[in-house]
């Protein structure tokens, strides 16, 4: 048990007094609960309203994605990756394509590289806006920030639909490029969306960032130190909110990210407010990338010289990308057939749940909901 949990437990023992014996209340929050972000359960033990212990329970959506993928061809798993983190199908696609392209190197054409970056950053906007909306919903705002977020998300989903045919389950990336080019006029429409986005962010920040209730509810709630975060494998905005400068777009420089100038916002306190603000700030940086990518994108093919049947030689690889929720990795073992011998997804939201109990203990049940919201999980990915 970590230090934070230990101090909380100590203060709890002080509350217990012989004269006023109070019992603990065990509440099973979920799997049917409005704010567990899907079918997720938290077995919470409460002293009054204070969380004494919390155990996350999941697996309700488990479909053994990995086993399924080991039974089908490499390409056939691509649409299933959409369904991992169904908010970010584009980055899921990318992570899988990246790992597969490490198994069997295929040159990705320039235009496809740019489109990949554009899609990934648009996905990041989708994820972060919605996350902020959901987070505020967990705080008790009656859907207003969420619907503002969805208003913007809708525009981006329209773009996704026009490019890939589907709004959420895009299934757009292929080993060596993209399934198809974007339709005519798409780049101009994307440009319009990107140009209008800062106005929305301004509105969002005005609505939320100085709101005393938001400040009071999120600051110094669920504090996670940088060292603890690294040790617990926390990745993504949650890690950077704890002040650790580790963004795979900078570290691994996959794709063509080294061509874009963007900064990585870092939090200082590692509390819920930082996690929320880091996401807001990251969106601004994503807009910078989008701006440059839409400006520089060349014409040309979007599919590299991929073999008709994807059949890598026996080898193993681990490919990872900076998905909006954290490090999304694919560990593939090829055995020389058309099916992967081992297919493993490293789901960021699953591993980010490692520290949930440490963050929640000592706070109230209302904070537990907020902390869970700030972790940003999607059960499709946690349970796989």
């Amino acid at each position: 048990m970590s230090a934070a949990a230990a101090t909380a437990a100590a203060s709890y023992s002080l509350v217990r007094q012989p004269a006023m014996e109070t019992g603990l209340l065990e509440v099973s929050m979920g799997p049917h609960h409005p704010s567990t972000h899907g079918v997720f359960r938290m077995d919470v033990r409460l002293d009054g309203e204070t969380v004494v212990a919390l155990k996350p329970v999941f697996g309700y959506l488990h479909r053994n994605h990995e086993k399924l993928a080991e039974g089908m061809s490499y390409l056939a798993s691509m649409p299933f990756t959409d369904r991992l983190d169904y908010f970010n199908s584009m980055t899921n696609n990318w992570a899988y394509a990246l790992a597969a392209e490490q198994l069997l190197p295929i040159e990705v054409p320039e235009r496809a590289q740019y489109l990949r970056v554009i899609m990934a950053e648009l996905t990041r906007l989708v994820n972060h806006t919605s996350l902020v909306g959901f987070f505020l919903n967990d705080l008790g705002a009656l859907g207003t920030p969420l619907l503002y977020a969805f208003r913007e998300r809708e525009r981006i989903l329209d773009l996704f639909e026009q490019a890939s045919g589907a709004r959420m389950m895009c299934n757009y990336f292929r080993f060596g490029g993209l399934r198809c080019d974007v339709p005519e006029g798409w780049l101009a429409r994307a440009r319009a969306v990107v140009d209008a986005f800062p106005r929305f962010l301004d509105e969002f920040e005005k609505l939320l960032c100085e709101n005393e209730i938001v400040l009071a509810r999120t600051q110094r709630v669920g504090v996670l130190s940088g060292a603890q975060a690294v040790n617990a494998g926390i990745t993504g905005p949650m890690l950077r909110a704890s002040g650790v400068n580790y963004d795979l777009r900078k570290v691994d420089r996959y794709g063509i990210y080294e061509r874009f100038a963007f900064r990585v916002p870092l939090g200082s306190a590692g509390d819920c407010y930082d996690r929320f603000m880091i996401r807001l700030l990251e969106m601004r940086e994503s807009l910078k990338i989008l701006d440059a990518a839409l400006r520089d994108i060349p014409t040309g093919p979007v599919m590299g010289n991929a073999p008709r049947v994807f059949k890598p030689a026996a080898s193993e690889t681990y490919g990872r990308v900076e998905s909006p929720k954290g490090e999304l990795g694919f560990y593939l073992i090829a055995d020389g057939t058309t099916k992967p011998y081992r297919y493993r997804v490293r789901p960021p939201s699953f591993i980010n749940l490692t520290v949930l109990e440490d963050l929640c203990v000592g706070h109230t049940i209302a904070d537990a909901v907020v902390i869970l919201g700030s972790v940003d999980i999607v059960l499709g990915e946690v349970d796989r």
């Binding site: 488990h62 650790v244 690889t317 699953f350 749940l353 796989r384």
Partner: protein, 192 residues
């Protein structure tokens, strides 16, 4: 793809550790795993502070046919059974030095597989080792909370093993399926 030789200091420090060049992974005997892990986290040994990915791989026993020459010069085909194994794979990165991945593998037998938990070293293994325990059946010594994680507690078997045979229809017994069928028999639901 060439990666720097991060593994070489480990091999020098721990002679029992082997290097699998094809998989580009360090094969660590389970009894040494904790020591190797703790050694690796030291700043001057690479500062591998971030264990990104933990998973299992199941290798079934397989038959290998080998030609061998008899002393009299005729050839003979010898069928030899290679024992299967379970591997627990750790992908390590260093946030401090921005290096990685260094792959660590614990290889354990398929019967009663017991690996050593690295959760005390890297907290990020906690849920992932539980998952390996759940889906592959590898038990981890020293894990603080080794329970099933994705499957339900009453579940038997380890679905990610290659020889796992799934039951005919999961949905039949525990879901309302049966009730629905019963209703159908009474003429309330039409099944095409």
């Amino acid at each position: 793809m060439s990666t720097p030789a991060w593994h070489e200091p480990v091999l020098q420090q721990f002679p029992a550790v082997r290097w699998d060049g094809a998989a580009r992974a360090l094969i660590v005997p389970p009894e040494l795993a904790r020591a190797v892990a703790e050694w690796l986290t030291q700043p001057d040994h690479g500062a591998w502070d971030f264990c990104s990915n933990v998973t299992g791989v199941d290798y079934l026993p397989r038959e290998v046919k080998e030609k061998s020459k008899r002393p009299d010069g005729t050839e003979e085909i010898v069928v030899r059974t290679e024992p299967g194994s379970l591997q627990v794979v750790y992908h390590l990165y260093s946030v401090a030095q921005r290096s990685g991945p260094l792959v660590l593998k614990q290889v354990v037998p398929r019967q009663a597989p017991a690996a050593v938990s690295l959760t005390p070293v890297w907290r990020s293994c906690e849920l992932q080792e539980r998952e390996v325990y759940d889906l592959f059946g590898v038990s981890f010594e020293g894990h603080p909370d080794l329970r099933r994680i994705l499957m339900w507690d009453e579940f038997t078997g380890h679905p990610m093993r290659k020889d796992y045979a799934e039951p005919q229809d999961y949905e039949w017994e525990p879901t309302p399926h049966g009730d629905v069928l019963e209703k159908h028999r009474r003429g309330k639901v039409i099944i095409a």
